[in-house]
Amino acid sequence: MKQLRIAIESTTLANGLKVVIAPDTTAPVVTVGVYYKIGFRLEPQGRSGFAHLFEHMMFQGSANAPKMQHIKLINSSGGVLNGSTHYDVTNYYEAVPSNALERVLWLEADRMRALKVDDENLRNQRDVVKEEVRVNVLNQPYGGFPWLDLPPVAFRNWANSHNFYGDFNDLDATDLADVQAFFKTYYVPNNAVLLMLGDVKPEEGFALAKKLFADIPAGPAPPFADPTEPEQSEERRGNVEEKFGTLPAMAIGYVVPKRRTTDWCAMALLDQALHGGRAGKLYRELVLEKQVAVELDGGIDDIFGYNGPTQMVTRILHKPEYTSEQALAAFDEAIREIQEQGISEDELAQLKVKWQSDYFSLLEGGHGGMPRYGLMHLLACFTLFDNEPQLVNTILDGFLSVKREEILAAAKKYLRDDKRAIVFRVPVAADKKEAA
């Protein structure tokens, strides 16, 4: 099969900032990203939602680019920008015509050097974040399901189990001192990677990185709380009320083995066998054949982009004439089958072709109009977690060498009731009907 090899060059500046460049002249566009190795998992206790609120603050002004100038300068250069907060990283990224490269790097350097924000900015973004939570969670059917519902049921360590979008009380309690302390602790060059992808010559990119970022002082190595979970030995269940939706829903999450192990590769293909679209076993059996479920999807979310405990999650909306236990029984039957029979050699071959094809798309993939978002994300995570950006070119090998027996073994070892958590999200109206 035709292969894809990404040209990658990388270096580390004296202040610890890692710089990764992946040149490609297909289009006169360059994607720039800065990733900091801190996400919502390890945000301060008592400040749930802070990492995300802080991400908003990074657009509110830096020493030489006051509020709105950052956004204005990117847009008026013909580019788009955004940022997002993940479990273990927070990213800031821009895609611009390549003649704006130095300008974008200057802006990123300016806000890495010093954040200049005031109380008014914080109040403003707190209001914006609350509307974000309302539009995505509180005012939507199945809002936050299951990404916010499952962690408090599944995990025992606060790092993994708290409300990542933030309790409004915690958001209200945040002050500027929190903002500056977080910035000083985690937003240091030695806790970050700078990426340039697309229309950039490596030597020019490195020279610009040095010119603009080299004088930003390194900080002490940031302290990271321990996100380890105690070994789980019992099934965990929880309930969440669904205020708007019409269908009963449930989410089942199984703990995923440690990343970059043989088991992890086997689990990834097992995930593909179970959740790989309409060919996936769960969709086929529950939606197409038994017709218990109306919607079903899931998998290991952002498999390359996390650095702590995570789950493979199945999300099911099922027909109201089935009870939750009946729907769960249909799910369990599919899991039991794969634990007993594993998958055929032919199916394994299919899974590997699809995995490789999906991987190519992931690397190329745009995100909100941002070309090569996927490649940027993987390069950043492989650099920050593994110090090995070249993994982008080799990580496929592990998945493509998984054997049938390893998938069967992974199904038996990880798809166990005592390693899972289930959240039922049942419409309020249906509840009342049943009670009546």
Binding site: M1, P66, K72, N99, N124, P141, G276, Q350
Partner: protein, 457 residues
Amino acid sequence: MATRAVVENSAVPALSAERQVTWPKRQRTRLLNGLEVILVESHTIPKFHGDLYFKSGNASAIERGPGLAEITSAVARTGTTKRASRQIEEDLRRIGADLAISAGSDTSSISFAGLSDYSEPLLGMVNELARDAAFPEAEFERERRQKLEEVKLSRTEPGFLAGERLRKVLFGAHPYSQVSPSEEQVAAYKRDDLVSVYREFYTPENGLLVLVGDFQPDAMLKTAEKVFGAWQGKKPHSSVFAAPANPRGRRVYLVHLPGAVQTQILAGCHAITRKHPDWVKLGLTNSLYGGAFNSRLVMNIREDKGYTYSPRSGVTALRQHGYFSVSAAVRNDVVAASLTEIFYEMDKLRSVPVPEAELADAQNYLSGVFSMGLATQNGLLGQVAVVALNELPDDYLETYRSRVRALTPVDLLETARKYLDSANMQIVVVGDRAQIESQAALFGDVEAFDAQGKRLG
């Protein structure tokens, strides 16, 4: 922000010389059976992306039932005369492909992506789905039930309810007013209607195949001829619908969603299609108003006032008509304040010429973003398809940037006056009636509905 001038800063690095944007060649052919084929090379990854469009959608089947083209597309995937549902899905997986069949108001389409090494089997599958769908009775019933649940569920989503109501208000008796069937209409779908829609719409004379990716165009064209060459079918009769009345005067349509903790605002008015000579002007005007992060509306109600997370405006171009709309999900207590600013920014663009510097910024933004499509196969596919489907000039991609850059403050003033039709905006608010009705009533007479579309007293 809107109320605070941005300091011009000499420390900001200047832009270096702009690199030329070169659009790849589009190889355009019509096969003997009438199928139009456009091929474009893009070697970003060893894959290719494609769309097989049919130029008929839900609007063309409206007499037989709303959403009929959509349910037809869903069931078409579930079995052919040669392969059962499971076989289709596993054969797609075997060649690493993704595929979706869907329909909108004006088109039905099969979208797909796969590895370049397996282009022939994937095109073979597309051909089979376009010609030999079997519409198994059991699959039809299953899809119908799923659609029924989907329809019920969508009526709990504020964004859907707002969009549905606005389309009804703007398009009245025209088929564009229907974005979703009712439960009763879903229950009334007949398998025979799906089959007849499929036979009429899915024909080579009605088709447009766009392929973008890692291939040699000549070789790919041969493959396409081999795969699709024997397919025959006429262009369907196209229905002509009377132009919808353009609603006059601001009115408010409130969709009551009990317990809503936020209000979805969506306001709109008639505008233009992509073929209209003012299209690029309206695009730039929209980008200044609320179409970009740096736009006036976002700066005002998000970055200055914190009323909302996601304000935006846009122009929706359907084949026969287009409309301009602005939306924001806002805190319940600032519905009136948000609408005030929405109209303030609109009226300002209609009365005060845009400063040259701001215009230049917006021109740069629009022309820069336009070129991003080049960087991915799917982005390029989208742009090439828009040109072809709307029968725009062949050099549309090449000339777009210069047309954007030629516009003046006077052009924008005229465009805003024509199409940001402030006095005739139809305002939809979706939220808890008790909390928002008096605020909304400041902007026009209020008609209230429940989520099912029933008028409330």
